[in-house]
Symmetry: C2
DNA sequence: TTGAAAGCGATACCAT
DNA sequence: ATGGTATCGCTTTCAA
């Protein structure tokens, strides 16, 4: 069924049908009724491709994430989508599995679909791709990579602060042997998190020892990484994870080895995914406001003032739950104050 | 940048550029090179809307799920998408939150986008909607609802068998007081699962008592439902959950109440999401092959022979893990055979 | 093997 | 307030 056919059946012009469907005020109520009746009768649904082509707007936003199985990304997506829906926009998602070639394909795909805005929430960005997007005239939001520019809004989280706070908190609990579970060594922002960890550790001085390991961004990956960490000579009493998704597997590996959390080993995640508080033990983590990020991304894409590109910085916040506690052997008397 | 502009710069006709881009063999290699050079030079990306409009095919599949935060749905999506990508198709996802009005909107949206196939993996289907889709000429796959028809493939899982096996297994372990944690009472397939549970329970006879509760399809929902169940007078020693996603919260609630799993209470989920084996305790559950469902859906949509609509039935399989064990007070001597 | 031109199904401008 | 029509960017005959 086409617009033209609807017009014919209603005995009006295509222009009128179009006006009715787009809710133009310049159409007499009687006319509107006549048209709508036919529309309902034949169950007419406009062809978005024709609309996008003729109208020059797709009413579509795109979002590319590294790993859609990681609830963090899903959280951002849900928020973005919620806002978009309110403005009658749709959101297309693609996920890359942290692979650059898939990112390239996803970007191409989004551009071919003529999205009116693109949120790129991935870690596998490199300078080349960033510049290619900066050359486009689509509004773009980057998370954790890139610099603001004409069409670019940058949202970034102070991972360093989050890592630092977590480490200091654990240090204050008496921990002196730390482990870090990361993933995808080699990807810019992820590498940076690990480096931050290393720096914080070194700042503690000689009394502190540490090791790092990595796996895929999944519970299984976290489990493997934790396995590596625990098989080493360090025997860490505190493990920081690059994210909660992996921390799930870390908890599991600890459990398998008969290590109690937090009595024997403390674990901290990152992101505060919904699952974190439902795990046993619930997960100490760093809150990254997914909903806020989704909303900010949406606003940047839709209402971004091309004149003043924004650089949004988010301060993370430590959330202490059951998975962390005093280092084993520490005096556990608690001050009740 | 448009096809026409590329054609101009290459000094050829639009038709030729189109042929080159679609990999038509009827174009001289030299010509192909000339065109591709320009295409790369100007970074040309075809407009999918124009392609879809002119070509009459969108090279797009649609998938609608009830709850994208439930890893089960995500698992099916990932598999479907993987296969689609191999055939140069894209998959659009929408999620409904179990709300009929959103399902209606999603279906409309997909139809307007002229998807070439639509997988509807939701519980909030009703006869009206099913028939509306059956009237369409798009291939459709339903999961767990609807009957096969001209353009309809139906994939269904024998939930009854899964529930039955789980219940019998727990019964054999000595459990006599059962709880069921479901969600969205009132939605067809979900209601059915609960009824199945009830039937199985009643079949056990007078020695068995049971109760049901429900919440949202989320860990938090499972937690609340479990809370209700445990606040009652029944004091179940075994809890069956409508899915693993909710079971996560059930485990947590048990933990909060100081009940040990499986020593005090056994828990069984449904779906076997990836997380299930990483929980502590790992979750006894019923395996629903998500990847297979995704693949079957894909094949039905792409290669479905309109002549013979298919009715695919999947037999679930019980997976016993740590969250289930003998009922408390049961003689625990184990035969070592 | 390549080009010209007729659609595809809407929108939006210009008339009336 | 309504209609006519050029236009969007591409695919696909049909000719040459």
């Amino acid at each position: 069924m086409t617009l033209a056919e609807v017009a014919r059946r209603a005995g009006v012009s295509a222009a009128t049908v179009s006006r009715v469907l787009s809710g133009s005020p310049a159409v007499k109520p009687s006319m509107r009724e006549r048209v709508l009746t036919v529309v309902r009768q034949v169950n007419y649904l406009p062809n978005v491709h024709a609309q996008a082509l003729a109208g020059g707007r797709s009413r579509t936003l795109g979002m590319i994430v590294s790993n859609i199985e990681n609830p963090f990304f899903l959280g951002v997506f849900m928020a973005l989508e919620e806002h978009a829906t309110q403005q009658e926009y749709e959101v297309l998602v693609e996920h890359t599995g942290y692979r650059r070639e898939r990112l390239v394909a996803s970007i191409r795909s989004m551009l071919k679909r003529r999205v009116e805005g693109l949120a790129v929430i991935v870690s596998e960005m490199d300078r080349g791709l960033i510049e290619e997007l900066a050359a486009q005239d689509v509004p773009v939001v980057f998370y954790d990579v890139g610099r603001p520019a004409r069409n670019i809004t940058s949202i970034r989280v102070r991972y360093d602060r989050g890592t630092q706070r977590t480490a200091e908190y654990l240090y204050s609990l008496g921990h002196r042997r730390f482990g870090f579970v990361g993933h995808h060594a080699g990807l810019g922002p992820l590498e940076e998190r690990k480096r931050t960890f290393t720096e914080v550790m070194e700042r503690f001085g000689k009394g502190v020892r540490f090791a790092t390991a990595s796996g895929m961004d999944s519970p299984a990956g976290g489990r493997h990484a934790a396995g590596d960490l625990l098989s080493g000579t360090l025997r860490p009493t505190a493990i920081l994870c690059a994210n909660d998704h992996m921390a799930v597997g870390v908890l599991r590996e600890l459990h398998d080895r008969g290590l109690r959390v937090p009595d024997d080993v403390s674990v901290a995640g990152f992101d505060n995914i919904g699952l974190a508080e439902h795990l046993c033990p619930s997960l100490t983590t760093v809150r990254i406001p997914q909903r806020m990020i989704g909303q900010l991304a949406f606003e940047a894409l839709m209402f971004g003032d091309a004149a003043k590109p924004r650089d949004i910085v988010i301060e993370p916040e430590l959330i202490v739950r059951e998975s962390s506690g005093p280092a084993p052997g520490t005096n556990r008397r608690r001050r009740i104050d």
